[in-house]
């Protein structure tokens, strides 16, 4: 099953690049949904068809691949936003920074004291790269919805690491994590809607009144 994980993880990294460079919100939401769905296949690929893995995959697929994108798409439909504005450091510098950090993640993973079976794999670098891309999206973008997408990517990266440690994360906890994610996105969607109602935009540059 290991041969299947490498293309999966590489596609995840490609999706990171796409999201960093794209300005079309609907495309970004869909592609992060695809990333979540691909990651849902990861437990099956790593641990085989055990009950734990199958339930986890099914849960991740439904939550990350179906429900969360539905919530986000509904949120932007109500807000009627389709394009992201130029991020704080510009699209091209964001892409370059993301690529540099992905390369850095690959190099850094070689220095980490990993367990023997994870040493030459793609798991740890992909997880680090995805986390960093999510973080980058969170801090450089202006629209609230892209910040939520950044948060989702951060969680995706942590999920990859969690797949390696599935003995430590029993099904109850993983289920709880996914549920938290779903409710979190739901609450964020509602708050975004309210932001739009108050400010007529979801540009977080207008959320700077509170100081000191």
């Amino acid at each position: 099953m290991m041969e299947l994980t490498n293309p999966l993880l590489l596609t995840v990294i490609l999706i990171n690049f796409f999201t960093l460079g794209s300005a079309r919100l609907v495309a970004c939401i869909r592609i992060v949904a695809v990333q979540g769905a691909l990651l849902a296949l990861l437990p099956l690929a790593v641990h085989g068809f055990t009950a734990h893995a199958m339930l986890l995959s099914a849960g991740a697929l439904i939550f990350k691949g179906v429900f969360i994108p539905l919530l986000l798409l509904r949120a932007i439909r109500e807000v009627r936003i389709r394009r992201e504005m130029e991020p704080i450091i510009g699209f091209v510098p964001t892409l370059i920074l993301g690529a540099l950090m992905t390369a850095g993640a690959f190099l850094f993973a070689d220095f980490l004291p990993l367990a023997a079976e994870h040493h030459d794999g793609l798991f740890v670098p992909t997880a680090l790269a995805t986390m960093f891309s999510g973080f980058l999206l969170l801090i450089t973008r202006r629209k609230a919805i892209t910040q939520v997408l950044g948060y989702l990517m951060l969680e995706n990266g942590i999920f990859i690491l969690g797949v390696l440690l599935s003995e430590a994360l029993p099904l109850l906890v993983e289920g709880g994590v996914l549920l938290d994610l779903l409710v979190g996105v739901f609450v964020m969607g509602i708050v975004m809607n309210q932001i739009n109602r108050e400010f007529s935009s979801i540009d977080t540059e207008s959320l700077t009144a509170l100081k000191e």
Binding site: F135, E155, L161, G162, V173, V191, E198, L207, A209, E212
Partner: protein, 474 residues
Amino acid sequence: MLELLLIFPLVVAAISLIIPNYQLRSWLLPVSGGLHLLLSISLAMEPFTLTGVWLGLDALSKLVLVVTSLLFFGCALYAVGYLEIRRDRGNKTMVPCLLIFLSAMTLAITARHLGLMWMAVEATTLSSAPLIYYNRNKLSIEATWKYLLICSVGIALAMLGLLFVAYGALDSGSPVSLQLDTLLAVAGTLSKPWLHAGFVFLLVGFGTKMGLAPLHSWKPDAYGEAPGLVGALLAGGLTSVAFLAILRGVQLMSAAGDGAMARQALLGMGLLSLFVAAIFMVRQPDIKRLLAYSSVEHMGLLAIGVGIGGLATFGAMLHLINNALTKGGLFLAAGNIQRAYSSKRLTEVRGAISVLPVSGTLFLAGFLAITGSPPFGPFMSEFTILRGIFANQRPFVGLLVLLFLALVFIGMGSTVLAATQGEAAAKTSDFRDRLLLCISPTAFILLVLLLGVYIPEPLQQALQNAAALLEVQP
């Protein structure tokens, strides 16, 4: 029994959604709060610690459980009166969210599996976000967004920390698990770099939730814009829960023999929090933001207490209780003042004692308590912490702490005295002190006064047990 404690607030929350009567819905809160308090106290009185795979109560969790439950009961009583005068906003969101919040906090306190604890802390973030947004204006929406995003990212980093800790067990032959008792047993065999990295991320993640500097930026905004009772719950209850989460990390590091490193980190962050709080409290014109920075300061004190160890840890445990109760009283009184003046800034709020005799006096008394004046409780706990610092041969740290505390007293004092004393110059609304809105803050401040004079023996024992858990050596 523990499961009952968790489930019944959720059941009541579901019931509240279908009850049509407004008053009845509000009264659900103190009723469930009271039940929760009685159950918690009876569970805490059991002499032995309950430990299961998923849920359990040890000395630390018993302490935090009783304090949080008491705070919730008081705020729930206040909520009935508050929701009565806020009929324009309604209580259809506030009541269920408060009850879910209670359930999530209880789960975080009683969890024995760190993953479950993580999930519960995230659930508290999500259930408290709609509460901050209760006032539905531009400023509170900004505060809610910042709170939601910063705390969620912080908690995601805490999850990363948990995964690192679990990874440390991979090559060592011990079982890979995040169950607390299993982890404590095998702590010595965990791979050191992974354990340390995990602790750092745990500290950063849960420290964001607790409000330690430099991760405190959401606190002034969230506490400032939320209604008084929400602020009280967040400042007294949620911070204690987040502190408990960090203490689990300290327990782990101590069991692995690296307690010193954990303590150094906590000490550093604690001093930084004190420093930041002291600076921002001087000339702070907004009374609720003032209280938020005070919360940062006291979180810093808690961190310093645990960071020093020994007698100071006992002081920190005592301070947990004192801080929670005093903050409860302060925030509720501040909420009343804001209602009367329709503002929380010093430009409008003057002479609160003449307009609202009870709330104004409570606010003044709360200020004296929280800055450590005798005979109030925080004086005892801060004094104990300082004694611990000097007993541990750290005079420089002790002097710094004293300096910052003095700065805080001056800064907070100037704002509070200006707000409470003098003539009421500005126009006030026709809100005046009423029973339900004053009984809880009065009770809290009186309790704090009592704790300053006399600590009952069972409580002393409980605090000793809690402190002892943190001093475990391998």
